[in-house]
């Protein structure tokens, strides 16, 4: 489809900002966690770490790995090499949406640490995945492809 009907040049820049999207995000996260908790074999600390890891992996995949838009834009492919995170609010930094999406993995990490009783193994796994999603979100890393990873 051609964008423009929403008055947006690139719909990918704005849909993350809607409160409905925020609510769906939180609801999805909660549903994932409750689902993991409901599996009998998984202990509570493992369920928390799994929630954290799955969340961060999905976050990385959808915000920092996949590039372009599902919409065909009139910008002739300018968004083709931009990740979804970079397209939010047309690249403006420190907007409310960006803050919200950055804070979620941090809070999730702190909660996970608490519920895993500060166990070192859990900490290492959670830290690694946290950095995976936190570093690309930093303003300094906007449009930066570290070591050329995921450049094209």
């Amino acid at each position: 489809m051609l964008s423009g009907g929403h008055g947006e040049e690139n719909p990918n820049s704005s849909w993350h900002s809607s409160r409905g999207a925020w609510l769906s995000y939180l609801a999805g996260l909660l549903a994932l966690h409750l689902f993991l908790l409901s599996i009998p074999m998984i202990s509570i600390p493992t369920a928390w770490t799994l929630t954290n890891v799955i969340h961060n992996m999905a976050n990385y995949l959808f915000l920092h790995q996949i590039k372009g838009t599902p919409w065909e834009l009139s910008d002739q492919g300018k968004a083709r090499l931009m990740t979804a995170w970079e397209q939010i609010d047309y690249g403006q930094q420190f907007t409310t949406t960006r803050k919200f999406i950055t804070i979620i993995p941090i809070v999730l990490f702190i909660l996970t640490s608490f519920y895993t009783k500060y166990d070192f193994n859990h900490f290492a796994v959670n830290l690694a995945t946290l950095l995976l999603v936190l570093i690309p979100k930093l303003p300094q890393f906007h449009m930066v492809r570290l070591f050329g990873i995921n450049k094209y």
Binding site: P45, A47, G77, I106, I110, Y152
Partner: protein, 501 residues
């Protein structure tokens, strides 16, 4: 089994947690605070004081509505007027009708009564306009039938119909090629293609006119570049855009070689068949027919219906997978009102004619093109003719340029005017010189049609010979043009001034 968990134990763990862990969490909490307090990056707006604003407003000088208005004697402001229908002979308002060698109606199908009748019949059913773009109440049965007929004519899966020939080509190219892609194009491609290339924002690589070796050289260079950055190469699409018969030179493109390169270097090949639709090949299906190349060797064929088809609009044909994309991405298709149904109906009739009589018509046209080519080749040495002998479009160029494009054009225009007085209407090839990517040298463009008789061809030859000799042999007449360019009659060779002897 999930182990029991209670808050007390967790708090105990918190107290016993390693310092590294608490330190890191501290950093994270600082992070959150930082995020909460950080302000949006201020936009780069500059705040001006009232005084500065007023200064800027006072400084501002509006540009003229029409920048650089042309002189009153600019040729574009003094165009010729045709009275009545544009046929083989046209009335330019000077009493006698003159032979028309400037219109692109190679098979003269516009003169056929049955074509006109089919348009009138459709007019009574659908009225004049279609009242909307194709996707918005502008599609009628006639459009769908015409698309099917064109696809069947080219032996392709699907075709798409545009309402204007120029925008067909200028929309079809950027529908596929985007920012970051590469297009290899012949340096002499016509203006619609150039506009399409420009709108695609791709990297354009021009190869020398019809020079397959140069193209291969450029492709090899690209392969070297690709090897250096294979990931980028994977994300880059490569296109090749050529014309079957070049509007700017009249040459036929070496399609068999191009098709080999397409396969070897994995290019997507688009061909503009504006001139060759209906004029090349055994069954008049264009260049693929002429070289006997199967349609699946070409990714898309574009063309206008404004030449042989004697209508308006354009079409693209190819596989369904390729063509269907344009129904949402071809800007000229989406945002223009569709072709008036009656014009589409006349094209259906034209395709009927091409399917039944096509082979004979093409044969006849080729004969006439060859005869005209021979006649033009024997003109005085001061001009030369470019183009293949079977091409219906020929260009006459000055053998020795004066070294200045404007002066060349003035001389050629005087030949054209002289020829018109003697009964043959021809035209200068018109270009937007500052917009052309590779401006071709100025030329007189002559088009052949299948109904030219031997007498008409010899008359054309005589008239051209006389005009050329008169305009080009007199060194002083050339001089006068150079020294007095401000006089309208001198520059553009009105009858009085061409009488210099």
């Amino acid at each position: 089994m999930a182990s029991q968990w209670n808050v007390y134990e967790s708090f105990q763990a918190l107290l016993q947690a390693g310092p590294y862990h608490l330190a890191f969490e501290g950093v994270l909490i600082l992070c959150i605070i930082w995020l909460f307090t950080a302000k949006k990056k201020p936009s780069k707006l500059i705040r001006l004081t009232k005084k500065e604003e007023e200064e800027l407003i006072a400084e501002w000088m509006p540009e003229p509505l029409v920048p650089n208005p042309p002189d009153e004697d600019h040729p574009a402001l003094n165009t010729r007027t045709v009275y009545g229908k544009v046929g083989r002979y046209i009335d330019l308002g000077k009493g006698e009708k003159v032979l028309n060698l400037g219109t692109h109606s190679y098979l003269n199908l516009g003169d056929r009564p049955e074509v006109e009748e089919s348009a009138l019949e459709c007019l009574h059913q659908y009225g004049v306009g279609s009242c909307g773009p194709r996707g918005f109440y502008g599609t009628t049965q006639v459009h769908l039938e015409l698309e099917d007929r064109i696809a069947a004519f080219f032996n392709c899966e699907m075709s798409v119909l545009y309402s204007y020939g120029f925008s067909t080509i200028a929309s079809a190219i950027p529908a596929y090629s985007k920012n970051g892609d590469i297009i290899f194009a012949d340096e002499m491609v016509n203006f619609p293609i150039q506009r399409g290339l420009q709108a695609s924002r791709s990297r354009i690589v021009y190869f020398r006119h019809n020079d397959v070796e140069h193209l291969e050289e450029l492709l090899k260079q690209q392969v070297e570049l690709d090897k250096r950055d294979p990931k980028k190469a994977n994300a880059t699409r490569k296109f090749m855009v050529v014309e079957s018969i070049y509007m700017n030179t009249g040459m036929i493109c070496p399609l068999p070689d191009l098709v080999k390169l397409r396969k070897k270097y994995k290019l997507r090949l688009f061909i503009d068949e504006s001139i060759s639709f209906g004029t090349l090949g055994e069954n008049c299906r264009g260049i693929t027919d002429y070289f006997n190349i199967p349609m699946d060797e070409v990714d898309m064929i574009m063309g206008t219906l404004e030449a042989t088809a004697a209508s308006t609009g354009g079409f693209c044909v190819g596989t369904k997978f390729v063509i269907d994309h344009q129904r949402l991405s071809g800007l000229g298709y989406c945002f223009s009102a569709s072709l008036p149904p009656m014009l589409a109906a006349s094209v259906i009739k034209v395709i009927d004619i091409l399917e039944t009589e096509g082979p004979a018509l093409v044969q006849e046209l080729h004969d006439k093109c060859r005869q005209l080519h021979v006649a033009l080749s024997t003109l005085p040495d001061k001009v030369n003719v470019s183009g293949d002998d079977i091409s219906p479009v020929k260009h006459l160029r000055l053998t020795e340029s004066t070294g200045n494009r404007c002066q060349d054009e003035v001389l050629l225009q005087r030949i054209v005017d002289k020829a018109e007085d003697l009964g043959v209407a021809i035209t200068l090839a018109a270009y937007l010189w500052d917009k052309e990517a590779n401006p071709p040298p100025p030329s007189i463009r002559i088009t052949a049609n299948k109904d030219l008789t031997k007498e008409e061809i010899s008359k054309t030859f005589k008239v051209l010979e006389k005009s050329i000799n008169e305009v080009l042999t007199k060194p002083e007449s050339k001089y006068e043009v150079l020294t007095k360019p401000e006089s309208k009659n001198e520059v553009f060779g009105k009858p009085e001034s061409t009488k210099l002897d």
